[in-house]
Symmetry: C2
Subunit: 115 residues, 2 copies
Amino acid sequence: MSRVVLRIDFDTDRHLGHGRIELLEFISELGSIAKAAKAMDMSYKRAWYLTESINETFAEPVVIRRHGGPGGGAAELSQFGRDLVRSYREMEAASTSACAKHLRAIERHLAPKPD
Amino acid sequence: MSRVVLRIDFDTDRHLGHGRIELLEFISELGSIAKAAKAMDMSYKRAWYLTESINETFAEPVVIRRHGGPGGGAAELSQFGRDLVRSYREMEAASTSACAKHLRAIERHLAPKPD
């Protein structure tokens, strides 16, 4: 029932967590930063900033933007970006497995769920 | 070099992450919510709220408060609280191991660190 959510801290300034990965997945699916922002109920400005921050983290582009046009133009993930999302999801699954025994032990101590 | 930081989502409303665990560790070390808050550069109000939230998550107390006195009285972790912190740190280590290969692959793509 419990879920392990990962944040990868590369160093003190650079990280990759659930929210950024979800943004990348929406950009991949919807082909636009504006549409991804809308799907996540996030401002376009914030989605744009996060995309910049992700791209600056790596030596090669993660999100490729086609500038111009209403709504900020189209965007897609690079091959590296797709690999990055897949790696993150695989790490999440591996961590969930690695934590399963501990999680089951902790779940036995949860308070009854409030109605 | 990279570090895996975990958040455990028990359900949509209840979670346990790095910040809460660090707060518990400071309470355990310093014996007071007020001192733990100060050590984390967090308001006493927020530390108190987080402590309440952690205690409400579980069927038994995690933080035991001794009310009264200046600075909000003393506080300590229950045996369950100490077990919880240890479990979280063990899960973090297990996840880091489980993710090591992926992390090394991703690190090769990091941008050169800005000066």
